[in-house]
């Protein structure tokens, strides 16, 4: 059970780290700065080496300060380069990331030669050393995590307005540059603290993946932050657990093992893969934003449009004989617009279930309810058509193109005018509206475009 208690301690540490990284990383992702945490992680190496050279021992506190220092310098450098040279942001990040790391590598080799530095030092830094997490480190995580989360909580509205509309925020008097730097500094702190635990690449993953996954589930910033923290924490816990001896002990076998001892596997990559799986799942099944939901929505929309076309066609085919409701052969309907027979069948039966049509011996007849619905649809369609044909040159100014209904799109006087025109041509379907007098309904159908 020693393994379990160590695992538990480690799990607590990684969960905290995952949660904090998820929350702080959300802001970076929203500000389109996802890879800044990658840069911070790489830029930390020279700081770690310098601290090691100065202090002479692997004191986690000193190393973290060193890492933070060079990380922040890197951040400032990126800002300076972007503002004062031609170099663009992505190149600036890449330059700082790689040159700082290169400097770190040089310093490391220097340290290794002259100080009998820990040969495994680079290994730890790159991949993390979760298993050796001490109580001290967990306490540091706890302290840092709490402070960072408190800061995020306190500055919630400031960060929100900064991230959404920096210009508006500036007009309100908020110190944009300071707030921005503060946001990034929080990210730096979390990255630096997590480095010895997770390693460089994986730390970047912890900041990006949870919020990318959380975004699929919510439309509000507060929920996004909470969910990102949750996802980060849970994945970290699960990943740590999977890499520990615990599943073996509990289940009698390790679900991941293909016959080898799992403690050979550092938890870091497993945490990342867990979060990635969460992302993939969210990508597909999340309601509203997930691919499945969007496909379904797309499908439903097309079905609705098809249904409306059907009803409209039924109206048009019945128009000549109104107010009598003729029986229309199904084959005639299919041929009317050269539709797929199966589709027509399916939607007609749905319409029957909803009481819009009557089916008898292969013919279709609109019910009175069906007539009203179909008339509405036809009226809308014809108003629109007429408007676009006649008034196309002022369409730009008068149309809020994303709205749904003609009634909401066009000014009432214009709608009245159009309706009057249609009525004169005898093409205005039955009126649900009381303010316009019912037209006389003679007239041959006009040419319809398919």
């Amino acid at each position: 059970m020693l393994a379990t208690s160590i695992t538990f301690k480690v799990m607590m540490g990684t969960t905290l780290l995952g949660a904090t990284a998820g929350v702080v990383g959300s802001y970076a992702v929203l500000r389109r700065r996802a890879l800044v945490s990658d840069m911070l992680a790489h830029a930390a190496l020279p700081g770690i080496c310098l601290a090691f050279l100065i202090v002479g021992a692997r004191d986690i506190f000193a190393l973290s300060i060193g890492a933070l220092a060079t990380g922040l310098v890197g951040l400032l450098l990126v800002t300076v380069l972007c503002r004062w040279t031609r170099t663009k942001e992505d190149a600036a990040i890449g330059i700082v990331l790689s040159t700082f790391f290169g400097a770190g590598v040089v310093l490391l080799s220097f340290a290794q030669r002259h100080h009998q530095g820990n040969q495994a030092g680079l290994d730890t830094y790159l991949f993390g050393e979760i298993a050796a997490m001490q109580s001290r480190e967990v306490r540091l995580l706890l302290a840092v995590g709490t402070l960072v989360l408190l800061a995020v909580l306190a500055l919630h509205k400031e960060f929100k307005v900064l991230a959404f509309d920096p210009e508006f925020a500036a007009s309100q008097g908020w110190p944009i540059f300071l707030l921005d730097f503060g946001m990034m500094a929080l990210l730096a702190v979390v990255t630096v603290v997590g480095l010895p635990i997770c390693g460089v690449i994986l730390m970047a993953a912890l900041t990006i993946l949870p919020s990318a996954a959380a975004r699929f589930w919510t439309n509000r910033l507060g929920s996004l932050l909470l969910l990102a923290g949750l996802f980060g924490g849970v994945s970290a816990a699960v990943g740590t657990l999977l890499a520990s001896p615990v599943p073996q002990q509990l289940l009698g076998f390790n679900p991941l093992a293909f016959g080898w001892h799992p403690s050979h596997l550092p938890p870091g990559p497993l945490i990342v893969l867990t979060t990635a799986s969460l992302l993939v799942v969210s990508l597909f099944i999340a309601p509203q934003h997930g691919i499945a939901a969007r496909l379904v929505g797309e499908f439903r929309l097309r079905a609705r449009i098809f249904r409306e076309h059907l009803l409209r066609s039924l109206y048009e085919m019945s128009e000549a004989e109104l107010p009598a409701l003729p029986a229309i052969a199904e084959s005639a309907l299919v041929d009317y617009r050269s539709w797929n027979r199966l589709l027509v069948d399916w939607q007609i039966r749905r319409a029957e279930r909803r009481g819009l049509v009557e089916l008898k011996d292969g013919t279709i007849r609109l019910t009175p309810d069906g007539l009203t619905t179909a008339a509405d649809l036809t009226r809308t369609h014809r108003l629109w058509e007429l408007f676009l044909v006649e008034y196309a040159n002022i369409a730009e100014d008068h149309v809020d193109r994303d709205a749904d209904d003609v009634e909401h799109l066009l000014p009432q006087p214009l709608i009245d005018d159009l309706q009057r025109r249609l009525a004169e041509e005898g093409r205005l379907p039955l009126q649900p509206r009381v303010d316009i007098p019912p037209p006389s309904m003679p007239e041959s159908p006009h040419e319809l475009e398919p």
Partner: protein
């Protein structure tokens, strides 16, 4: 007496530098396009994402032969590119986050695969990240009697391939880098160019691993290219300068590594960064130091002109009155630039110091006249064409006068009602 060139006096040195330089040039060629297309971080992403591909290639082929490794890298590289693109387009994940998501996940997968299947093999993380440049000269192959490092046989062909592809697709790459839509409209598939470039990156990255490792390859891709970008304005020049910067980084880096006995790949990166820093500061057109120097020169010129103009105006009101140096300096707001300006003017013989004070020489008076002419013409322009009231024209004219050259003065004369007097009623000196 320290022999600075000591590190270069051996064949090992030259072979190592050759490998470094070849790697850097191969990377710089591709990197130019990454920088221009604002895809620098794609280089970083791909360099990490190919890891699982390498592991799988090794597992399937059973050897460390470079060909299956390339194959694995290219396949996985294309997959990564595709995933990033799709995640962004269909998943609506922002572009940079897509990159981050894909490459970290794939890298994690790679690590898992390594630990699972390669744990028997000694896996020194350091070599993956730092490369083995220090050892390349030891692992040689006999080619026509020369002991050529084996790495060179890998990176050399890659360099040639890069040169070939870039030469072949020069126009297409150029257009699609500057305007993807235009390229598509002209019939070149911008998407194809994108994937082609990514393939080159993947291959170059893998070929460079041995020399510089996978993180520092990012430096070799981007930094020399960014340096060249700061120094010139044409693509052709940029590519050449980037290659040059790459070679210099290799040479300089090797030197640093030998003198201080540190990792050579890291040193090359530092050298490349140093070159970039020099470009940032000293680039003739855009460098910071150059800009500061230009600004100082302009400040000095403005101050000198202000001094001349002030003395002229003093003369206008009272031909006998002279300003002494300290009053002049004070009138200009003090500061060392004013004193410096006065000394400069004395040296140029535009003014002389007399017992009563500063006096304009004839050449000085001529120079002053042009300035005052500019000033008063501008004032007239402000009044007649911008409709500014009289009490609002002196300050703006005072700011702008220094930038009005002969040509602009001439144009002003044409649009301003030439009464020979400025809005305040003073004479406008003749041109």
């Amino acid at each position: 007496m320290i022999d600075l060139f000591e590190p270069f006096r051996s064949t090992t040195a030259w072979w190592t530098i050759a490998v470094g330089a070849t790697t850097n040039v191969a990377c710089a060629l591709v990197g130019c396009y990454l920088v221009l297309r604002r895809m620098s971080l794609m280089g970083d992403a791909l360099a990490h994402a190919v890891l699982p591909g390498l592991v799988l290639a090794f597992l399937f082929s059973g050897t460390l032969n470079i060909v299956p490794l390339f194959f694995g890298a290219v396949t996985v590289g294309l997959l990564a590119t595709f995933l990033i693109q799709s995640l962004h387009q269909y998943g609506r994940v922002p572009a940079d986050a897509s990159m981050g998501v894909v490459f970290t996940s794939m890298f994690a997968l790679g690590v898992v695969l390594i630990k699972r299947y390669l744990s028997g093999i000694h896996f020194d993380a350091a070599c993956v990240y730092e490369g083995l440049l220090q050892f390349v000269a030891l692992n040689t192959v006999d080619v026509a009697g020369l002991e050529v490092p084996r790495t060179l046989l890998t990176i050399g062909p890659v360099l040639l391939m890069n040169i070939l592809v870039i030469a072949l697709f020069w126009k297409e790459l150029k257009i699609s880098s500057f305007d993807a839509n235009l390229a598509s409209a002209m019939g070149f598939s911008a998407t194809f160019m994108h994937y082609l470039l990514m393939v080159l990156v993947a291959v170059t990255t893998v070929a460079s691993f041995e020399a510089v490792g996978s993180i520092l390859v990012v430096a070799m891709l981007i930094v020399p290219a960014a340096t060249a970008h700061l120094l010139c304005d044409r693509l052709g020049h940029m590519v050449i300068l980037a290659c040059l910067a790459g070679v210099l980084s290799a040479v300089g880096g090797y030197w640093i590594a030998r003198v201080w006995n540190v990792n050579p790949a890291g040193s090359m990166t530092i050298a490349a960064g140093g070159l970039y820093g020099l470009a940032v500061l000293f680039s003739p057109r855009h460098g910071m130091i150059s800009t500061i120097s230009r600004n100082l020169q302009t400040s000095l010129r403005v101050t000198c002109e202000d001094i001349l103009a002030m003395l002229y105006r003093v003369e206008e009101t009272d031909t006998q009155h002279r300003l002494d140096t300290s009053s002049a300096v004070q009138a200009l707001g003090g500061g060392f630039v004013s004193r410096w300006g006065i000394s400069a003017l004395v040296r140029r013989r535009h003014i002389v110091r007399t017992k009563q004070g500063l006096q304009l020489t004839d050449t000085g008076r001529l120079a002053a006249k042009s300035l005052v002419r500019s000033h008063r013409l501008w004032e007239a322009y402000l009044v007649q064409h911008l409709g500014l009231p009289l009490d609002h024209i002196h300050e703006p004219a005072h700011r702008v006068e220094h930038f009005i050259d002969e040509k602009l003065r001439h144009n002003l004369e044409e649009v301003v009602d030439d009464t020979g007097r400025d809005p305040h009623g003073r004479d406008i000196p003749n041109g």
